[in-house]
């Protein structure tokens, strides 16, 4: 909690303090489809410090999800390096817990509670400990009432809450979120954004968050890494840590600035979601 507060005040100046938690250096990532190579991420470098909330913002198809998948270990790099706490990441692992956009990311055959307990058991935690933590995160995500339900009995927003609780219960070094609120209605989305900010503050979790919503990026994040069109590079890193009230002039002008950054690279404004 204290770290978070200091971040909000000190912004970029903290970069000097120690090694970054996550460092992405000259990452080049793509897919091979039918023997043809498609480069999505051209050359991207950025760093995430402990306790920071970093937003990856960019137009559709700019490779921001691809980048997140690479950080999670689902995809290899063509070139460059990704290091977590100084160590190169090669395989998926619970130290980089992921929350996906899809509602069906919960195991349908397990109750809400077991969806949170089971992954902890997989990483080797004792049952009692796993259950204790599960109760803790159920309460934190306001899920206690739904603990014994099965995922198909939950609304989309509830399912995403469970996914966040599940990921947090693993005590990840960094929480990766791939447009987790992208499929929710506007009302639920803004409520979950507020809750996420609150929970992040209370758990001091480090966050790498992919979004195509400028409003979400400014509202939730500390810094926004803006990517251009594929093969993408970093356009600019914008500090938005002080901005948490959308009614302020500063918030609006930062949004305008990001909008203009994205518009340079994407003539088709329709692809972007402006909130």
């Amino acid at each position: 909690m204290t770290t978070n507060t200091s971040h909000a005040g000190s912004t970029q100046s903290a970069s000097g303090a120690g090694t970054p938690l996550l460092s992405v250096q000259h990452a080049k990532i793509g897919y091979v489809v039918n023997r043809e190579t498609h480069v999505a991420v051209g050359d991207v470098s950025f760093e995430v410090r402990q306790g920071e909330k970093i937003m990856l913002l960019g137009p559709s198809g700019c490779g921001k999800s691809t980048l997140l998948k690479a950080v999670a270990g689902f995809l290899g790099l063509f070139d460059g390096q990704i290091r977590l706490a100084g160590r190169e990441t090669l395989k998926p692992g619970p130290d980089r817990a992921v929350v996906f956009q899809e509602f069906d990311q919960l195991f349908p055959w397990k109750t809400v509670r077991d969806n949170i307990v089971h992954p902890q058991r997989v990483i080797g935690r004792a049952r009692s400990e796993a259950e204790r933590r599960s109760d803790e995160y159920l309460e934190l995500m306001k899920l206690t009432q739904a603990a014994d339900r099965y995922p198909h009995q939950l609304s989309g927003g509830m399912k995403q809450r469970v996914a966040i609780a599940r990921a947090l219960a693993l005590d990840p070094m960094i929480l990766l979120m791939d447009e987790p609120f992208g499929a929710l209605d506007a009302q639920t989305r803004s409520r979950l954004q507020r809750e996420l900010i609150d929970v992040a503050a209370r758990t001091n979790v480090t966050l790498l968050f992919v979004t195509h919503s400028i409003q979400e990026a400014v509202y939730v994040g500390d810094r926004v890494v803006v990517l251009g069109n594929a093969p993408s590079t970093v356009q600019e890193v914008v500090d938005v840590s002080a901005l948490d009230d959308p009614s302020t002039l500063e918030f609006t002008s930062t949004q305008e600035h990001l909008r203009s950054l994205l518009a340079i690279d994407d003539d088709e404004l329709g692809n972007l979601a402006f909130e």
Binding site: A72, G73, F74, P92, G93, P94, R96, A97, V98, F100, E102, D104, Q105, F107, P108, W109, P119, V122, I123, Y150, P151, H152, Q153, L170
Partner: protein
């Protein structure tokens, strides 16, 4: 949308309460409706036997006589033995079928070649009624239980293998990503994600396999005569035919029906307790 629904509800409630003249057959509970139909059918059956004389009466038995024959058959023990023999051979064949189907599926998941082989074999063998292989199996293997087991396992393998491999192939990729994310890989990923996620397909594969196997074993026993160390239900019927015991033929048939229904219920229950409860399959 919600407004419309709210507006409709009271109307429905009123009409259901007041309009007793609209109460029709369809308004009765399903169990009651089916029960009435069943009783009517049994009654018609019993009635039909009353009008039969001579040779016709030789060929027909009413539900009461058949019920008595079933009770007698179970009391004597030969109907029990026949039922157990059939079930034992069927369960053994299914166990073998499941193992072979699992191997085939693994092979199919593991390589494109295996997938091609499984698909081609299934496309070729599945449309062939398994019983058609019985004469060949009897010549190759002999007049013993092994021939029966081979035929029935064959009937079970293909529907099962194709269902399970479809199930594995269509596992939601997000769930697989979650599994890998929490650190599952190899066999633990199969057990933790693939198997439960493919359960609806696996259950329906076992259901289809059972249905194929059940039909095949009865048919095989009818052709085969005594199977191994004692005849099954198909043989029971045929034996009754040799001894002109029409009521026992009916008893065998009804027993087969009852077991068929029992297994269907068992599978329904299994589905209700699992995939339907989990929302992976609609009831």
């Amino acid at each position: 949308m919600s407004e419309t629904r709210e507006a409709e509800q009271p109307v429905t409630a009123v009409s259901a309460g007041s309009a007793h003249h609209r109460r029709t057959w369809g308004d009765l509970p399903t169990v009651l409706r089916r029960g009435i139909v069943l009783v009517a059918l049994l009654g018609a059956w019993q009635l039909s036997t009353l009008f039969m004389t001579g040779a016709q009466a030789q060929l027909m038995r009413g539900p009461l006589e058949v019920g008595e024959a079933i009770v007698d058959g179970f009391a004597r023990g030969d109907l029990v033995d026949a039922t157990l023999t059939t079930l034992r051979i069927l369960l053994l064949s299914m166990a073998i079928g499941i193992v072979v189907a699992a191997l085939l599926t693994t092979f199919a998941m593991w390589s494109k070649l295996g997938d091609d082989i499984l698909n081609l074999l299934t496309a070729m063998i599945n449309p062939l009624p398994a019983i058609a292989l019985l004469p060949l199996a009897m010549i190759w293997i002999g007049l013993n239980t092994t021939a029966l087991v081979v035929i029935i396992a064959n009937a079970v393998i293909w529907p099962l293998a194709i269902n399970v491999s479809t199930g594995f192939r269509t596992v939601n990729p997000t769930l697989l990503a979650v599994g890998r994310n929490i650190g599952l890989s190899g066999w633990r990923l199969v057990r933790g994600v693939y198997l439960p996620a493919a359960l609806p397909h696996i259950v329906s594969g076992i259901k289809t396999g059972w249905a194929f196997g059940w039909r095949t074993i009865i048919a095989a026993e009818l052709v085969f005569g005594v199977a191994g160390e004692g005849g099954g239900l198909g043989y029971f019927i045929n034996y009754a035919r040799f001894f002109n015991r029409t009521e026992d033929m009916f008893a065998g048939i009804v027993t087969i029906m009852i077991i068929g229904i029992a297994f269907d219920l068992l599978f329904s229950l299994l589905e209700r307790k699992t995939v339907i409860k989990w929302g992976m399959k609609t009831a």
